[in-house]
Symmetry: C2
């Protein structure tokens, strides 16, 4: 009870055996909860173990038991932090994934370190994780191919340009933009400002950035709209500035679509500072999580970005794949759903 400290440094199973006056095999049995040990013996040995603070060397256990790499019951979500400022968005993915792990008796691991191939493979080799959730997927991402080749389980939140065979869950961003702009057009808007993620993300071929811009192009053509957009860092001040620029470029604009709910107060305030009230004098539609949409005033009319659900589903998908490796590959492409709230309306003087 009392013994203060870790002489455990170099204790081996042999030491325990000696101290408890039994054989190594017996100690091993006890350690592994085997039934064929006399209760008295077990107690005696257990006492020694506790008193000495001994704990078995995991490496040796694994090696001896032939478990090349033991199931760790850990899944890891990889979110390379340098590729994007953390935003509310990503956080909800984490929550969802963590919640699923909790429900499925699995540990959840979040890694924000950007990884090269070696790091990634080592995660598996070292037994640190049983599977990974990949985020910030680029159109030409190299990771799915690598992991597939090594037969390491993974799912993507996002998708590459040609992912016939990989598990993924993603929002149909192309369609999301078309839906949002379509809605605004339906309401009678013709001059619509668009605020998108930084061009740098697109240059890096990050999926959503690429697809959002292609969706925008398609929407422009489909509705015969003139381009009017800014690609900026999605912070409140940057969006504020961008909105002002848009207003300068096209004072006649009656609506703004922004791809990020959490920075939309920037737009709303810029509008207010130019004497435009939302939604009466200008509509704002966003791509946003329900939570953020509700937090902003006026509550955002928005394409729902169900990030927590996506995180939850991604983790669940991965855990399933772990349990049934031969099960068919699931691919989920969520269709956009617009939630009408308070931030958009018919333009002044429209039909």
């Amino acid at each position: 009870m009392i013994q203060s400290s870790e002489s455990s440094e170099s204790l081996t199973i042999a030491d325990i055996a000696r101290l408890a006056q039994v054989s190594v095999s017996t100690v091993s049995r006890i350690l592994n909860g085997k039934p064929d040990v006399a209760e008295v013996t077990r107690q005696r040995v257990l006492k020694v173990i506790h008193d000495t603070g001994y704990s078995p060397d995991v490496s040796a256990q694994r090696l001896a038991s032939g478990a090349t790499v033991a199931k760790s019951r850990v899944i890891t979500l990889l979110f390379p932090m340098d590729h994007a400022e953390f935003t509310q968005l990503e956080l909800d993915f984490f929550i969802g994934a963590a919640a699923s792990c909790s429900k499925h008796d699995t540990f959840f691991n979040l890694m924000t370190e950007p990884m090269d191939a070696d790091h990634l493979l080592n995660l598996f080799r070292s037994g640190q994780t049983d599977g990974v959730i990949l985020m910030q997927i680029r159109m030409d991402d190299w990771r799915p191919e690598l992991l597939t080749r090594h037969d390491y389980p993974f799912v993507m939140i996002g998708r590459t340009s040609d992912n016939q065979h990989y598990r993924y869950i993603d929002l149909d961003f192309d369609a999301a933009v078309e839906t949002a702009i379509g809605y605004l057009v339906e309401q009678g808007h013709r001059r619509i400002g668009f605020i998108a993620r930084p061009a740098s993300a697109r240059a890096q071929q990050i999926g959503p950035s690429v697809r959002i811009m292609s969706g925008y192009q398609r929407a422009l053509e489909r509705y015969r709209l003139a381009p009017l957009y800014r690609e900026v860092k999605l912070t409140v001040p940057d969006v504020y500035e961008a909105t002002l620029e848009l207003l300068d470029e096209a004072p006649e604009l009656t609506a703004i679509f922004t791809v990020h709910g959490a920075s939309s107060p920037g737009a709303i305030r810029a509008l207010r500072d130019r004497d435009r009230l939302v939604p009466d004098d200008c509509s704002v539609v966003a791509l946003a999580t329900e939570r953020i949409a509700q937090l902003v005033t006026p509550a955002l009319t928005a394409i729902n970005f169900p990030t927590d659900t996506m995180g939850y589903q991604a983790a669940t998908m991965l855990i399933n794949a772990l349990q049934q490796p031969s099960a068919p590959v699931e691919q989920i492409l969520l269709q956009p759903r617009l939630a009408v709230r308070e931030s958009a309306s018919t333009p002044v003087g429209a039909t």
Copy 2:
């Protein structure tokens, strides 16, 4: 190059040695980057390794090299998810901690599974982590004592009732409540509604819940105020309801202090639905992160809850402790700082 797959299942260093026509020792040397190998040999062996897809068994490596448990360069943030609904709050802790890890070449691990003592110790024993950040600290938390006894490094975000010797960073919640209410009183408010975390959290002795209520008691005494509060789940709808109740109980109230920024729109909307505009007809002060405070309209006058900074500092503290185990124990108790924004003002008809 082409080889499609992993026969690697059972490849050992001996197989590589045989295939490359060298001894096991030589392969080992190459694996470990030792200099005393002929370049030709090295190339030949490397090719075999690559072609076969061989990768060494980590357990065996560790065992043989005597590294009882290798430094994992991982720190783990423990956030037991059942103890609290995830709120924006906690998320910012994660961001901060992750950011520090990134800066300090360390992996960041988030675990949401509630843990018993065995789980916790195993995290260390199995070499999964070098240190942990504890959250959701209870006044009488058992974890610091356990970890200290085993000499496993940790820091707390929060603190126990008697943590003379543990590393921690915490906000002075007692003082925070007094400051907020003091500010309101200074502005001329006398009838102030208070919205706090659920009583269940307090029953569980979760630090902030306990200290916030004790701070409230102190504030009541100090300013001779009558109690007027609700303890509720901090969601927008629940806070909405709570605010309505407060309004029913004390229609004359002129201010509300809530401990959670992200659910404060619930209060603001309840007020609006009772024809009270914030801040003109009723002030709202919150305990909130800067980000949330800015997101809400009107921007919240709030006690700053620097969660991301706290997460960052906690991780940094831990990483330092890992590098210099003998360094003195750091303890940081942040004093509350009020940021005046738009949501509070002088009550109607006050001096």
